[in-house]
């Protein structure tokens, strides 16, 4: 139990996951397991574009998400997707949460 708490705290002290918004975005992308448009994420979270861009850039720099221009039914949009590294981290995070419940 103590080990799990320590690991969870260490995980959340990582620069990329030290923000609840970034952690939440990463977990949501894990469950969606596909591309989400930048515009949809911004509308969902109701935060300024610049803030969302900063959060996503931080996640991208750490190799947790990838974003690119993609063709969607509404035209060409910036789309975001979780990477395998990101999936591994969220998977471990959820294991820890499950163990602590």
């Amino acid at each position: 139990m103590v080990d799990e708490v320590d690991e969870l705290i260490r995980m959340l002290k990582d620069e990329a996951l030290s923000s609840g918004v970034r952690l939440g975005i990463l977990i949501a992308l894990y469950y969606i397991d596909g591309y989400v448009t930048f515009a949809d994420l911004q509308r969902d979270l109701d935060i300024p574009k610049s803030s969302l861009h900063q959060h996503l850039s931080m996640l991208q720099e750490n190799g947790l998400v990838e974003f690119k221009r993609g063709i969607t039914p509404l035209g060409v949009r910036t789309v975001v997707k979780i990477t395998n590294k990101g999936k591994g981290i969220v998977s471990r995070y959820l294991e820890l949460v499950r163990a602590l419940r």
Partner: protein, 211 residues
């Protein structure tokens, strides 16, 4: 745990809920819209097959009877539709099993396994029963199948990420009532189609308006 960690966990839970509630509702809207076009796709395929004499050509081979051919076409299209809606189901299933949900009730995996087995069995038995030519024997598996589809759809709301609206109840109740009845009164498929398209449109409007 320090208050910082608690704050990160609290904000992340709020963020996850905000994103997933919209994405799940959007997926559900697309699911309604997709299956709302199913009777139209069947009708279009029949019309094309009839006008280009495809049905006559296949019947002349004397391998399939007309009812059996109809079932094969309907199931082939249903499989394509099921493939297209797999994303919705897989996302909803993953979310329903998430440890971040606090109001989980029941054993979801068991419910899913039982529902899947009954649905697959019903679908597998259906063409055999149709071959016997008894309308009531067709009707019973249709009722079971419709109930299971509505039951499966209802479980997605139990994660608490999306709230069931009146158009969800309308879509699912109409499916249980109209799907089996459509075997006798074919226009029921088109009413069902309209209701599901309406539910899909309302769901997407809910996402756009942020409701």
């Amino acid at each position: 745990m320090s208050s910082d960690v608690h704050e990160i966990l609290r904000v992340s839970n709020v963020t996850v809920r905000r994103v997933l509630s919209r994405e799940l509702r959007k997926a559900m809207g697309l699911y309604y819209l997709l299956w709302g076009t199913y009777p139209i796709a069947i009708a279009a395929l029949y019309t094309i097959s009839y006008e280009f004499s495809v049905i006559e050509s296949v019947l002349s081979l004397r391998v399939f009877s007309l009812p059996m051919m109809s079932i094969i076409i309907m199931m082939a299209i249903a499989m394509i539709y099921a493939f297209l809606s797999r994303r919705f189901f897989s996302m909803a299933y993953r979310v329903s099993r998430s440890p971040i949900i606090v109001n989980r009730r029941g054993r979801y995996w068991l419910r899913w396994v039982i529902t899947s087995i009954i649905m697959v069995t019903t679908i597998a038995v259906y063409p055999i029963l149709v071959g016997l030519g008894n309308a009531y024997i067709e009707y019973i598996p249709a009722v079971v199948y419709a109930t299971l589809v509505a039951f499966t759809n209802a479980t997605f709301f139990k994660s608490g990420f999306i709230r069931a609206r009146y158009y969800d109840y309308l879509a699912n109740a109409s499916f249980i009532i109209l799907f089996p009845l459509s075997l006798i009164y074919y226009f029921g498929y088109y009413i069902l189609s309209l209701i599901w398209i309406y539910a899909g449109a309302r769901s997407l409007l809910e996402v756009i308006s942020g409701g």
